[in-house]
């Protein structure tokens, strides 16, 4: 192997022992005095858990915050849909949990492709998140004695997941939203809903503003500030069918990428094992059935191929509870990537059930017998209700049918320990960054990360940045603002100008098929090469034959979607390129060429223990891969085993 070039950016991981890094660093960080904070302005894009918590906390500190979102209200950000729960190393159950164990589970769950220091800090601040949320009035589930209840999630042998029925994301988001609205009330935060950020403005190499489209009037607006915080969520909707809300997109991070922010590990996407099966092109999205269901639900398929008896007619001894059989130690609670691949394998081998034969059963019969229907209803009532509304089947009476679906993206903009991207001043939080989950995220850890980033990390690190950087005042007449706005207008004009024959949705659907087939649950060199070619061809066709209905200066959702899909083509290509480059299997990235004899992911730590961070070189030149090598000083890398 030739020696790789040194990584050109500093991850700024503080010195000191792992468990002291964050504390020591905080002692050294520079502070902005209270009087000066009022003079500093920060743009926060996104009002999900990461964005709302950041905007609220920065407002509390006294900064002038401008907070943007696509939806009509910050309360509707996609975080609202999270169901199952949020992890924290409270060890309230006295079952041996600790900061170390949460850290270790997360690093291992991510298949050793995340930074130790970031993950350790996440585990450390996790406990304070629960305190904060409880104090805000988040109605977590409780025991009769009044203490907080916990449940288990995949990839952990302790019970550390806090929850509010099956609506944990909603309740945590409403908590953060209430803190945010309090700051609006105080006058520190100004809200800009129904805005879509379409470009980042970089002046003298530093992020100083954004250009947005006002989604009600269609007007292009410019905003300047001393720093920009991006918390715009993940990009699973690149697959068209995913569990994400229909407005989720990659536009904000992608356009920042094109302005110079490195994009890390784009191929690390998570396919969630328990979702409603795919039906066809008229479906607009897939619905997740929370992982928490695997606490009490048992996954099975018939032992006989093509057995099409009704599930109730298949006797116990003719069912294969394959997760319990293959992974006796973790059973139904193996991590997501493992559960998803096992379901795919079962269906590929002909054991799948349902009309398409591409689903497996998730059965609550045994749990209902053991705990009673009421207990199950209390735990999962809203999920069962949702399932029944969609499928017209009663999951209390017959097992659910589930299949994996795109759900979460571990990849995202590269950030250093301060959560700053490679563009100074541009900070990236939550699912939009790549930082903590390596090649696979454990359940209930995204909510934890979003709130850790927003409540506890960025308020400190952004202060340090603002206190250290020398920032001249800028206003929105600056030539860079003008240029960014012109670029945005040109793109819109191009989209509207094609006047072809195919709709944006048709293109998005086709792109999603390519990615699902070749850059989905399993990948190989041949498929990836083909995907690169077909994505490129489809993109070229898009720019010749797409039909978008104008005008641009009115409410026009069709136009919004067109811009997002245009970005998805470029991102999809980068995902395939990254997957091709990574000649190993790890976490959610499974290369057919690299598996153990039992069909498990085979990592190559010798050559691939790095973060793959891509640099945009303009559409006509291939992007360049930079490798940030990962040093593991505190954990021993091992083949993940959940047997």
């Amino acid at each position: 192997m030739s020696r790789p070039a040194a990584f050109p950016f500093d991850a700024k991981i503080p010195e000191g022992p792992l468990d002291a890094k964050w504390d020591l660093y905080q002692r050294e960080m520079k502070l902005v005095s209270p009087a000066n904070k009022r003079k500093k302005s920060v743009i926060v894009v996104g009002t999900g858990l990461a964005g709302a918590s950041a905007a609220a906390s920065l407002g509390e500190l006294g900064y002038r915050v401008l907070n943007f979102c696509i939806q009509d209200s910050p309360r509707r950000a996609h975080s609202v849909a999270a169901q199952g729960g949020i992890n924290a190393a409270k060890n309230y159950q006295n079952d041996g949990d600790s900061v170390w164990r949460l850290f270790h589970d997360t690093i291992k769950g991510g298949d050793y492709r995340a930074r130790e220091a970031n993950v350790y800090r996440l585990a450390q601040v996790s406990t304070r998140i629960i305190d904060q949320c409880a104090a805000q009035g988040v109605p977590f589930n409780r025991e009769y004695g009044g203490t907080l209840a916990n449940r288990s999630f995949g990839g952990a042998q302790v019970s550390r997941t806090f929850y509010a029925r099956g609506q944990t994301g909603q309740q945590l988001l409403l908590g953060a939203y209430s803190a945010l609205m309090r700051q609006v009330d105080e006058g520190t935060v100004s809200l800009y809903p129904r805005r879509e950020m379409l470009d980042l403005v970089v002046i003298d190499g530093v992020a100083r503003g954004i250009v947005c489209r006002n989604l009600v009037t269609g007007q292009i607006e410019r905003y300047a500030a001393d720093a920009v915080v991006l918390a715009t969520g993940g990009y699973s909707t690149v697959f068209f069918l995913s569990t994400n809300a229909v407005n989720c997109n990659a536009t904000a991070i992608w356009r920042c990428h094109k302005r110079g922010a490195l994009f890390a590990n784009p191929c690390f996407t998570q396919i969630h094992p328990t979702c409603l099966p795919q039906a066809g092109p008229t479906q607009s999205k897939l619905t997740l059935m929370s992982e928490s269901l695997r606490n009490d639900g048992r996954v099975w398929v018939p032992k006989r191929k093509g057995d099409d008896r009704a599930p109730a007619d298949i006797p116990e001894d003719e069912r294969d509870y394959y997760l319990e059989r293959i992974y006796p130690a973790f059973g139904n609670l193996v991590p997501r990537d493992i559960a998803s691949r096992a379901a795919k394998r079962m269906c590929d081998d002909g054991f799948g059930v349902g009309p398409s034969k591409y689903s497996v059963y998730l059965d609550f019969g045994e749990a209902i017998g053991r705990l009673g229907r009421d207990k199950i209803a209390e735990r999962y009532g809203n999920l069962f209700h949702m399932y029944e509304e969609i499928t017209d089947d009663d999951p209390y009476a017959t097992p659910m049918r589930i299949y994996p679906a795109p759900h979460y993206t571990m990849g995202g903009l590269w950030v250093d320990y301060n959560l700053m991207s490679t563009i100074p001043g541009l900070h990236v939080l939550g699912e939009a960054n790549f930082s903590d989950h390596g090649a696979n995220r454990l359940g209930a850890s995204a909510l934890m990360q979003g709130l850790a980033d927003g409540y506890f990390v960025v308020p400190s690190t952004l202060g340090h940045y603002l206190a250290s950087a020398k920032l001249d005042p800028v206003d929105t007449d600056h030539p860079e603002f003008v240029a960014a706005e012109t670029g945005v207008r040109d793109l819109t004009a191009r989209l509207l100008g094609v006047q072809g024959k195919k709709t944006v949705r048709e293109y998005h659907w086709e792109l999603g098929r390519i990615l699902w087939d070749d850059v989905g649950m399993s990948r190989n060199a041949k498929g990836l090469e083909e995907a690169l070619g077909s994505i490129r061809a489809l993109r070229e066709d898009f720019w010749k034959n797409v039909r978008v209905i104008g005008p641009d200066d009115e409410f026009n959702k069709g136009l919004e979607f067109a811009g997002r899909v245009a970005d998805f083509f470029e991102l999809g290509e980068l995902m395939a390129r990254d997957a091709l480059q990574r000649e190993e299997s790890c976490g959610g990235h499974f290369r057919d060429e690299h598996q153990t004899q039992e069909g498990e992911a085979l990592r190559d730590d010798e050559n691939f223990a790095f973060v793959g961070a891509w640099e945009w070189k303009g559409g006509d030149t291939d992007p360049v891969l930079h490798k940030e090598s990962l040093a593991f000083e505190n954990v021993t890398l091992s083949q993940r085993s959940y047997k």
């Binding site: 109605p139 209430s178 999205k285």
Partner: protein
């Protein structure tokens, strides 16, 4: 199945609107009503016509973005169900379905089926929070909360802020929405300190936004996708009364 549609089309806030007829063929009963509208919009786009604008996001009944009046009922015929969760199997083959936006003074129409619900955000801004800065909180288990109180608080906290309660109310009152937040905090120990100020300010903001009074019709409870009980409004009244007495 095939369906006939009568859909409210309106070009902007101050423009006149009208019910426009459309037909969609080959609808699967498993589709949601919004997926059926997606198909309609595909057809309109292909014909070069403006698609029908409507809000939606999560498409699973939790974000509160969607909200259509379907055959005269907010969120349509099924109880405890949002528009996006409503499947076409709830309709008959060949049926004519009327689709309109929320209609209320407090929710001006932006375009077609999209309305401006920012009044709800302003009601929350007027005290729909507990004042605790990041980092100030004590250990979460240091304030025990009985299971029953937590469950009751959760019942009100489940509100998704969709606005169906307003759309269904003959007075276009926002009482159920406002009460849900007031009741959630009134039931929790953390909410006690700001209890009076919160009730006063939120109720006053609700009135200032042009929403009507509650006269106990109960339509709000009937359409609420999260089945929030009208008793919640009684709690708000009690909270408000106590607050006026205290501040008098």
């Amino acid at each position: 199945m095939n369906v006939n549609l009568l859909i409210w089309r309106q070009d902007g806030p101050d423009q006149p609107g009208r019910m426009a007829p459309y037909t969609v063929a080959d609808v699967s009963p498993d589709m949601s009503i919004l997926e059926m509208l997606d198909i309609l919009n595909e057809q309109l786009t292909a014909r070069g016509e403006r698609p029908v604008e409507f809000d939606s996001d999560c498409r699973e009944g939790i974000c509160g973005a969607c909200g259509l009046v379907i055959n005269g009922v907010a969120h349509g015929p099924r109880s405890a169900c949002t528009t996006c969760e409503l499947r076409m199997r709830s309709f008959r083959d060949g049926e004519t379905i009327a689709i309109e936006p929320w209609r209320a003074n407090g929710f001006p129409i932006i375009r077609d089926l999209v309305v401006d619900r920012s009044a709800f955000d302003r009601i929350i801004t007027a005290g729909g929070y507990i004042s605790v800065n990041t980092g100030e909180a004590p250990d979460a288990n240091s304030v025990p909360i009985g299971k029953v109180a937590a469950e009751l608080a959760m019942d009100s906290a489940a509100c998704i802020g969709c606005g169906a309660c307003v759309a269904a109310c003959p007075n276009a009152s926002a009482s159920l929405f406002t009460a849900a937040k007031i009741a959630q905090f009134a039931r929790l120990p953390q909410g006690q300190l700001e209890r009076h100020r919160r009730a006063l300010r939120m109720v006053e903001q609700m009135d200032a936004e042009g929403f009507g009074d509650c006269s106990n019709h109960g339509e709000c409870e009937a359409v609420c996708p999260k089945a929030i009980s009208i008793e919640t409004i009684a709690i708000m009244r009690r909270e408000y009364l106590r607050a006026t007495v205290k501040s008098a």
